[in-house]
């Protein structure tokens, strides 16, 4: 693999000259490839550093929890940022629908406060009271119920696997984009791999022919699995932090570049208005096709103000990071760090993409807006290709960081909640390490296999997994934190009913059992918006009502157990 990458770099200058001279579209060029190689090397180095930092103490707490030593920067910039995919899809939404997307993402103004302020401190506290290093672990010990632990593990494995499979495909596509002479710049999971260029690899005995997509997939998987194996949880978090900072730098440069090129924000809005229609500057948003659904009617504006805030609190990867925070001062500092970071990322990104619509009015693949804008606005700059590479490397890094954090959550659930609980409770350090590495390698191989011939049905599970995870874990987590009366049956009912509600509404929508309500983004898999609201809202509602009912109808929890979780230890 490495030889292969070097081989392509050798031929770079040629490709770059050729593409610049012969073709009208700007191409990624060597700047991107170089930044990407640097990023990959940086990630492996971070993995090694993380490995050194966690050698002391027990393997499980070190490898999967970083010995509960997360600092403020690491917690702030990695706990609530959703995934590489979200960050890449967002610019395309602004490009397509206009200023209304500012309202769509508006609740990120409050995410730093809610993400850390609602259950952050108490969850970190509770995870120490229970000695938990995984989410199922925490629920199991908090309610002294193996049934809850197992239910949690099953849901977690289900959601995390599908989310992770999707990210591998995104990673492969990203590498295909970064090919020095590539003209493909779209970076979402929906993109069909189009490159037909193949490469022959001579192996002893026979020759393998692979497309760029497959080479990308193999390279991406090898790199991510390797540095996650080395660095574990801390490695995943630190790479995530690294890419978040890179993203910030990239956005700042691009903000300046695109505002200058578009001649100011008001000018950009007026120009893009000419290319689109009145919906671009008013609610409920602009859509290019006639008869398209209303992008953001009032009911969905409310839905998204709930989704980003509460969905962010309830994801397993986020919960684990809160559990790993060092002390309360770290959580406190994270609030203001993230609030400044979010303001510096999301508002500028909206401005950038509005300028994008003015500068490049008729993009066919709208996911390409950020890469295209980066290449276009920096083409006249000295070392412009490197700057463009920096901007492009940030989303690449986001995908890598997301995959590695999912890998850690997935592997911790298997090693802690299955292997250690049911198979080998007395496993020693070397056994645990082999188990952890084994699960990661198997997960990597499975992901490659699932994505070798990308199938469409996978996309359905992925969309469902995001909402499903929040609907399953959020209400139970809040009940576990603050409600002394909460008991095992109540938590079980709350988890299962939340998950089932979301599943049901997605199934109705995708199977088109009921006529669709014409709202929301135009995607191939749409949920059923009951009364116009998103499935997650209904999931959270059912989860809390049924959870509380089931708790009140069953016997209260053991007094001594509750006291161990809530009271001062004497």
């Amino acid at each position: 693999m490495q030889n292969f990458l070097l081989h392509s770099i050798e031929h770079l200058p040629n490709c770059w000259l050729l593409s610049a001279a012969d073709l009208p579209l700007p191409r990624a060029g060597y700047g991107t490839t170089m930044m990407l190689v640097l990023f990959i090397l940086g990630s492996v180095w971070i993995g090694v550093m993380a490995n050194r930092a966690t050698r002391s103490g027990g393997f499980m707490k070190g490898f999967f929890m970083g010995n509960r030593g997360l600092g403020a920067w690491a917690l702030a910039l990695t706990a609530t940022v959703q995934s590489g995919g979200t960050f890449m899809g967002f610019p395309s939404l602004v490009y397509n629908h206009g200023w209304i997307v500012a309202l769509w993402i508006g609740s990120y103004m409050i995410v730093p406060l809610t993400g850390f302020g609602i259950i952050g401190k108490r969850l970190a506290h509770l995870s120490r009271r229970t000695g938990a290093i995984t989410v199922p672990d925490l629920f199991r010990t908090r309610f002294n119920s193996p049934a809850i632990g197992l239910t949690c593990t099953v849901f977690l494995l289900l959601y995390m696997s599908f989310l992770m499979f999707a990210q591998f495909k995104a990673g492969a596509i990203v590498l295909q984009v970064a090919w020095p002479d590539s003209s493909e710049l779209a970076m979402t999971e929906d993109v069909v791999p189009v490159s037909n260029i193949t490469y022959d690899f001579d192996l002893p005995g026979y020759t393998v022919r692979l497309t760029r997509y497959h080479v990308g997939l193999l390279l991406f998987s090898t790199v991510v699995v390797t540095y996650t194996l080395i660095g574990g949880f801390l490695g995943a978090v630190w790479t995530d932090l690294f890419q978040s900072l890179l993203m910030f730098v990239g956005v700042m440069i691009l903000l300046y570049a695109s505002l200058t090129a578009a001649g100011g924000l008001e000018n950009a809005t007026m120009t893009s208005l000419k290319h689109t229609g009145p919906g671009f500057v008013t609610g409920p948003g602009y859509s290019s096709s006639v008869g398209a659904p209303d992008f953001l009617p009032l009911s969905l504006a409310i839905s998204f103000f709930v989704i980003w805030v509460w969905g962010g609190v309830g994801t397993p990867a986020g919960l684990v990071r809160l559990m790993a925070s060092q002390d309360t001062a770290v959580i406190r500092k994270s609030i203001y760090l993230l609030s400044l970071y979010n303001m510096g990322i999301y508002l500028p990104l909206i401005v950038i993409c509005i300028c994008g619509r003015a500068l490049i009015p008729d993009l066919e693949k709208t996911d390409e807006i950020i890469p295209r804008l980066a290449l276009m606005t920096t083409s006249k700059w000295p070392a412009g290709s490197i700057v463009a590479g920096l901007i492009l490397a940030a989303p690449f890094g986001a995908v890598m960081a997301t995959v590695s954090s999912y890998l850690v959550v997935l592997s911790s659930a298997i090693v802690r909640d299955i292997y250690q609980r049911f198979i080998n409770p007395k496993a020693d350090r070397s056994h645990l390490r082999i188990a952890a590495w084994g699960t990661m390698v198997v997960a990597g191989v499975l992901s490659v296999a699932m994505n070798w011939n990308p199938v469409q049905f996978l996309q359905v599970f992925i969309i469902f997994s995001t909402s499903g995870a929040a609907a399953t874990f959020l209400i139970p987590a809040i009940m576990a934190c603050y409600w002394r009366r909460a008991n095992a049956p109540g938590i079980l009912v709350s988890m299962i009913s939340g998950a089932l509600t979301v599943l049901l509404l997605y199934t109705i929508g995708i199977q088109e059992w009921l006529p669709q309500i014409p709202i929301g983004a135009q995607t191939s898999f749409r949920p059923y918006y009951l009364l116009g609201f998103d499935p997650l809202l209904w999931g959270l509602l059912t989860s809390s009502i049924l959870g509380i009912l089931a708790t009140m109808l069953t016997s209260p929890p053991d007094e001594d157990l509750v006291s161990r979780m809530f009271d001062v230890i004497e």
């Binding site: 309202l103 302020g117 009032l298 002390d327």
Partner: protein
């Protein structure tokens, strides 16, 4: 025997209520202003404030800045530090210290 609830639990709960209240206010402000000023509005009388369409400025940019100020204030003065405690090693009979 009555035992006292850990102060960390109390302060967390108090802060959680406060945060939820701020979230509700932010949601009410943002959605009301954007809906009343920005939905189904004729483009001709659209005004701009610092380059933003006026409804985005008053409905998103201003509350965003306000929320950032509130978050920093909350972090500096309202959030109470406390002792998170040590890991319980024998939380259950498995003894999963690892």
């Amino acid at each position: 025997m009555t035992r006292q609830q850990d102060p960390v639990v109390n302060s967390s709960f108090r802060e959680a209520i406060l945060v939820v209240a701020v979230w509700l206010i932010a949601m009410l402000w943002t959605i009301t202003v954007c809906y009343r000023m920005g939905y189904n509005r004729p483009v001709e009388d659209l005004k701009f404030v610092y380059g933003f369409p006026d409804w985005v400025f008053w409905g998103v940019a201003v509350p965003w800045c306000a929320c950032t100020v509130v978050s920093c204030f909350f972090s500096a003065f309202l959030f109470r530090d406390g002792h998170l405690g040590e890991d319980v090693e024998d939380a259950d009979d498995l003894g999963l210290g690892g």
